[in-house]
Symmetry: D2
Subunit: 406 residues, 4 copies
C-alpha cells in the first residue's frame, strides 16, 4: 500500500536503524480486526489518527529498533471476498471506525485490496495440503518480491477453530510433510497450514487467535530449521488483560482468592463463531491457564461466552472475585469491562508486526516468549503477570540489535 | 502480651537472625484496626488463624530478617477507654473478627490491656505540648524497658485529622520545639505530636492514616537526628489499591484514560469521621495524587466518601473509568470493591511493624520509600504502580542486614 | 410446636375470624429454606424477630383473614435425617440465622423435630407408589389429627428435580392411579408423589420449587375432586424478582429491550443440585417464560447458573440489559443482586402457608393464580409484572371470606 | 414545520377525533433535548424512524384522543442562537442522532428554524418582566395565529436554575403582577417568567426541568384563571426512573431498605450546568422526595452529580441499595444505568405535548397529576410508584373526551 512511485512522500524508505520496508501479511485480511488494523495504519500514516492503543509507540519501547508506520506494507489471505471498503463501512456503522477516518483513507484502500489473495478453505479445498502450502507461500513470496520487502510477518487473525486432536505426525516434521502430500488427508487445521506456509516462505508467524497455529512440535522444528521467529497465542485484549493486572494484586497482598467467575457477552462474527461450543472450547481453554498460573492454585472459575448479536463488536465482560482476608473474612470484587474488541486488537496486531519483524531481523529464532505481554496463552513461558510481562517485553525489545540484516 | 513466666512456650525469645523481642506501639490502640491487629496477632500465635493478608509471611519476603509473630509485644495509646475485649466483641458482631477467634484469645487480651495508656487528646489537654510529648515518650520507654525490647515501632492508627495549615516552625526543629513549650500554642496536630514522641523515644514511626504525622521538615530532621526510620502514609487497602494495580494496565497498553470517577460508601467510626468535610479533605487529598502520577496527566476524577452507617466496616467502592483506544473509540470499565476495612488494614499494620523494626535494626534512617507498597501517599517516592512497589519492597527487605544490632 | 398445655400463652387458640390452628407440612423439612422458616417462625412467636420479609404482615394484606403466627404448627417429611438443630447451627455459621435467634429458640426445636417423618426417596423405595402415597398421606393425617388442626398446607421445599417426560397417564387420573399400583413403575416424580399425597389427605399444596409437583392435568383433576387449592411454582426470590419489577419499566416507557443476559453464582445445596444440568434444566425452564411474557417478544437471553461453593447461600446474580431508545440509540443497564436465598425464601413459605390455608378455608378449589406474585412460573396465569401481581394478590386476599369453615 | 403547500402529504390536517394542528413551543429550543425532539419528530413524519421511546404510541394509550405526529407544529424560544442544524450535527457526533436520520430531515429544519425566537435572558434583560412576558406571549400568539393552531403547549427544556427564594408575592398573583412592572425587580426566575407568558397566552405549560416554573401558588392561580392545564416537573429518565420501578419491589416484599446511595456521571451542557452547586441543588432536591415517598421512611441516601465531560450526553448512574430481610440478614443490590439523556427525554417531550394538548382540549384546568408518570417530582400527587403512575396515566388519558373543542 502507498508504495507506488507517485506517492514518494509516503514511500517506505529505509530508516536509519532498520532495513525496511516490512511486509505484514494478514490471514483473515477481510475480517474486523484486520480491516481495523489496515484502516488505522493508513490513518496513522495520513496523520488522521494518533497511535493510541499501540504499545510500540510508547516510551516503554522507545529504544526498540522498529520499522516506522510508513515502512509497513500490508497484504493477506482470506476465504471470503467482501471488499475491504465495504467491510470498513460496516465497521463505521458499528462504531469501530470513525466516519472521518474512513473518509480520509478510503482512497488508499484499493492498493491494499490488490494485495489480498484467496486463502485456504478446508471445507472446499480438494488439493493436497502440500499444494495448498505451495500456493499460500507463493502468494507471500510474490508479495515480498513485488515490494522489495526485507521480510514479511504473517499474522493469523482469522476465526477461531476447534482444538485439533493430536496425531503422531505432529511430533515429526518429516512424517507431517509426507501426510500433507496425501490429497485425502487434511493433516493440519487451517491455522497450522498458514503457519507452515509462513515458515516455508521464510517468514515470522504470529497467532493472534487461540487456534493451533504453530503450536505443534513439528512446526516448531520447522521454524528452527527455517531460522524464523514465531509468537502467540490469542491476543489479550479484555477480561483476561484485566485478570493479569488484578490477580497479582491479590497474591502480592496475600489475599486468598476463592473463586473468580466470569461471563463474556459479545456479538459480531466472533460472537457467532464462539456460539459453536467446539470453537468456544479453544477460547475457553486458552483463557483457562491464566488464573492457576497467577494464583498458584486452581480456583472455582466458571466462565461463559455468550453470543448477544445486538452488542456487535462491543464486548461486555463481568467478573466476580470472591476472596478471603485476615482471620478468614470474606470479601468480593466485581468488574465490568465494556470494550470494543477490534479496537483493542488492531493496534496490537500492528505492534506485533513491528516487533516480530525486529526480532526476525535481529536473528531471533523460534518462540518469542518476551511477547507474552500480548497474549492470553503465551508460547514459551508461564509468566502471566502483566507488569512482569511489560518489563520483559521492554527489556528484550529495547535491547534488540537494530543493525543486523536479514 | 503473653510475656509472663508462666507462658514460657510463647515468651519472646530471640530468634536466630534478629535480636527480638520487638515492641509494637499503636496510637489508637482501642480502635477497630488496632483491635483487629491485636486479636489477630494473638490468634496467629495461638495457631487459631493463618496469616492470610500478611505480606511478610509470603514467599515474596522469604529472605527478609523479620521478627517472628511470637517476638512481637503490643502496647499503645488511646484517648477512649473502651476495654479491648468489648471492642473485640463489637467487631465479632460486625463480622470483622470470627467468634471462635475471639473465644480462643480472649484470655490473652488482659495482658495487652495492661500495656495501654491514655493518649493525647487535643480537645481536653491543658499542658504544653512539650510536657505531653515527655509523657507519651515516657510511656513508650517504660514499655520498652519493662519488656526488655530491642526496639519499638510506633504506628498511628487513630482517626483521620483535618490537614494542618503550614507554620514557619514546621521547617525548623528548634523553633518548633520552642513553640511546643508554650502552653497556649497547640503547635502540632495530634498525629505529629505522636511522631515527635516516637522520635524522642528513639522509635521508628509509621503513619497508617492520612494525617500529618511525620510529614513536616522539622520532624524529618528530628528522625535524622535520632537516627530512626519512618514510613507512611495512609494504608492502601481498597479502591486505591485497585487503582494502583489497574492504572498501569492502561498506560502499558497505550490506552488513554479520560476520566476515573469513584465513590466510597462506608460506615463505622471511619464513616462518621470522614463525614466531616475537614477530615475527608485529608483522605481525599491523600488519594488524589495516585492517578496523575500513574497516568502521567491529570484526568477528571470526581471522588466521594459517604457515611452509610448500615454498612459498618464493610466498605463498598465503585469506580468508573472511561478511556479511549485506537482511532479514538471510547470504552469503559467499572469495578465494585466490597471490602472489610479493618480486615484489610490489620495485617498490614503487623507487616509494617516487622518491616520497620527490621529497617531500624539494619540502620535505616529517615523515610523508608521502599514501604510505598503499603501506602496511598508514599513518603519519599512518586512510584505508585503496585507491581513496581512490590518489587522494590522485596528487593529492599530481602537484602536488609539481619545481623546488625540496635 | 408449642401446642402443649404447659405453654398456654403461646397455644394456638382460635382467632376471631379464623378457625385455627393450621398445619404447615414441609416436604424437605430439614433443608435450608425449611429450617430457616421453622427457626424464624419460632423467633417471631418468641418476639425475637420482626416479620421483615413476610408479605402477609404488611399493610397490603391487612384485611386478609389469616391465621396468626401463633396459630401455625409445623411438621414435615425429609429423606435425610440431619437434626433440625444441627442444620440450624450450620445456618448460623453461614450467616443465614443470627446466633442470638437460634439461642433463643433452640429449646423449641425438639417439638418440631418430633413432627418430622421420613419422606419418599425414589432411589431406595421398593414399595409401589400407591403404598408410598398412603404412608405419606397417613403421616399428614396423623399430624392433623394429633394437633386438632383445621387444615394443613403441604409445601414442597425439597431439591429441584429434572423435568419429567410426559406420559399418557398424566392426562388421566384413573390411569395414573392404576400405574401407581405397579411396584415396578415409578410413574411420578417425587414432587408429584408429594402433591398426590397432599390431595389424598385433603390438603392444599404449594410448590416452592420448579419440580413437576401438581402441574399435571391428572393431579389438577384430583385437586378439583378433593376440593383443595394448590399454588406454585418456584419461589421468586432474586434475579427473577428483579426482572419482573424492571421489565415492565421498559415496556411502559416504550424502550425496546434487545437482550437480557444473566448469570447466577451460588453455592450451598442449591448450587450443588443445580450443577447437574438435568436439574438446572428445570430451573432455567421455570425462569425462561418471564421475559417473553413481560416484553411481548423473545429476546436474546443467555442465562447461567454456576456452582461457586465458597458463596454458600449468598447468591450473586448479574444481569445485563441492552435496549434501544428513540431513533434507535443503544443503551444498557446492569444490576448485581447479592441475596441470601434461604433468607428471601423462608418468609414467603410462611406467607404461602397462611394464604393457602385461608384460600382453602374460603372454599377456593384448584390453582390459585392470585398467588403468582410469589412465583417465577405462576400456575394458572401469564401475568408476570410484579406490581400487577401485588395488586391481584391484595385484592383477592383482602376479599377472602374469613367466616367460612372447613 | 413542514407546513408549506408543497408538502401536502405531510401537512397537518385535522384528524377525525381532534381539532389539530397543535403547536409545541419549546423554551430552550436550541438545546440537546429540544433538537433531538425536533429532529426525531421530523424523522417520525418522514418514516425514517419508529416511535421507540414514545409512550403515546404504545397500546397502553391506544384510546387516548391524541394529535397525530403530522399534526404537531414546533416553534420556540432560546437565548443562544446556535442554528438547529449545527446543534443537530453536534448530536450526530455525540451519538444521539444517527447520521442517516439527520441526512433525511435536514431539509426540513429551516422551517422549524424560522419559528424560533429570542428567549428571555435574565443576565442581559433590562426591560421590566411585564414587558418581557408581553414579548414572549406575543411570540407564541403570533405562532398560533400564523399556523391556525387549535392550541399550543409550552414546554420548558432549558437549563436547570437554582432554587428560588420564597417571596410574599409568590402567594398573590396581583402582587406578583405589580412587582413585575418594576424594571429593577427580577421578581421571578426565568422558568416562571416562561410559565407566566404561557398562561397569559392561554397555553398549557409543562416543566421538564426541576426549575421553579409554574410551581408557585400565584402561577397556579393564574392557570386556574386562564383555564389552562400545566404539568411537571423534572423529566424522569434515568436513575430516578429505575428507583420508582425498584423501590416498590422492596416494599411489596416487606424487605427493609437501609440505605440507597447514588452517583451520576454526565457531561454535556447538563453536566456543566449541574457542576454549579446552586443548580445541582434544584436537581438533587427534585430527586430527593422519591425514596421517602416510596419507602415510607427516610433512609440514608447520599447522592452525587458529577460533571465528567468526556461522557457527553451518555449518563452513567450507579446505585447501591443495602437492605435487610428475614431475621435481620443484610443483603445488597447494585445497578448501573448507561443512558443517553436526550434520547430518553426527547420522546417524552413529544408525549407530553400530545397529552397536555389533549387535556387542554378536554377542559382540564390546573395541575395534571396523572402525568406524574413522566416526572421525578410530580405536581399535585405523592404517588411515585411507576406501575401505579402508568395505570393512572392510562386510565386518565384513555378516558379523555376527544370531542370537546378549545
Amino acid at each position: 500500500m502507498t508504495v507506488t512511485q507517485r506517492e514518494t512522500s509516503h514511500a517506505p524508505t529505509p530508516s536509519p536503524d532498520t532495513d525496511a520496508p516490512v511486509g505484514v501479511w494478514l490471514n483473515g485480511a477481510r475480517g474486523s480486526v484486520a480491516t481495523t488494523a489496515i484502516t488505522g495504519l493508513l490513518a496513522l500514516r495520513a496523520g488522521m489518527a494518533d497511535s493510541t492503543g499501540c504499545v510500540t509507540d510508547t516510551g516503554m519501547l522507545r529504544d526498540a529498533p522498529l520499522a516506522s508506520w510508513n515502512d509497513l506494507v500490508v497484504g493477506g489471505h482470506d476465504i471470503v471476498d467482501t471488499p475491504l471498503e465495504k467491510k470498513a463501512e460496516s465497521l463505521v456503522d458499528s462504531g469501530v471506525i470513525p466516519a472521518p477516518v474512513l473518509a480520509a483513507v478510503r482512497g488508499s484502500l484499493p492498493e491494499v485490496e490488490q494485495n489480498l489473495r484467496t486463502g485456504y478453505d478446508a471445507r472446499t479445498e480438494t488439493a493436497p495440503l502440500a499444494e495448498v502450502v505451495d500456493r499460500l507461500a507463493g502468494d507471500i513470496e510474490e508479495f515480498r518480491s513485488r515490494y522489495g520487502l526485507s521480510r514479511v510477518v504473517v499474522i493469523n487473525v482469522s476465526s477461531t477453530e476447534p482444538p485439533a486432536d493430536h496425531r503422531p505426525e505432529y511430533d515429526d516434521l518429516d512424517a507431517l510433510t509426507r501426510a500433507m502430500a496425501d490429497p485425502d488427508d487434511k493433516a493440519l487445521p487451517a491455522s497450522s497450514v498458514v503457519a507452515y506456509a509462513a515458515f516455508q516462505a521464510g517468514c515470522g508467524f504470529v497467532d493472534f487467535t487461540p487456534s493451533t497455529g504453530a503450536r505443534l512440535p513439528a512446526l516448531e522444528m520447522m521454524a528452527q530449521r527455517e531460522r524464523v521467529p514465531f509468537a502467540g497465542s490469542d491476543g489479550k485484549t479484555g477480561e483476561t488483560l484485566l485478570r493479569t493486572a488484578l490477580a497479582p494484586m491479590f497474591t502480592s497482598r496475600a489475599l486468598h482468592v476463592l473463586s473468580w467467575a466470569g461471563v463474556n457477552l459479545l456479538g459480531g462474527g466472533d460472537g457467532a463463531t464462539l456460539e459453536d461450543p467446539r470453537n468456544a472450547r479453544s477460547k475457553l481453554s486458552s483463557k483457562s491457564g491464566v488464573l492457576p498460573a497467577l494464583l498458584g492454585e486452581d480456583v472455582t472459575a466458571p466462565l461463559h461466552i455468550d453470543n448477544v448479536p445486538d452488542l456487535g463488536d462491543h464486548k461486555t465482560a463481568w467478573d466476580h472475585v470472591s476472596f478471603e482476608g485476615f482471620l478468614g473474612v470474606r470479601m468480593s470484587m466485581q468488574l465490568t469491562w465494556s470494550g470494543v474488541d477490534s479496537t483493542l486488537a488492531a493496534p496490537l496486531v500492528l505492534d506485533l508486526a513491528r516487533l516480530t519483524a525486529a526480532a526476525h531481523r535481529a536473528g531471533h529464532v523460534g518462540p518469542i516468549e518476551e511477547l507474552g505481554f500480548f497474549f492470553k496463552d503465551p508460547i514459551g513461558t508461564d509468566e502471566h503477570a502483566l507488569a512482569e510481562q511489560a518489563q520483559a517485553l521492554a527489556s528484550w525489545a529495547n535491547g534488540l540489535d537494530g543493525r543486523a540484516g536479514s
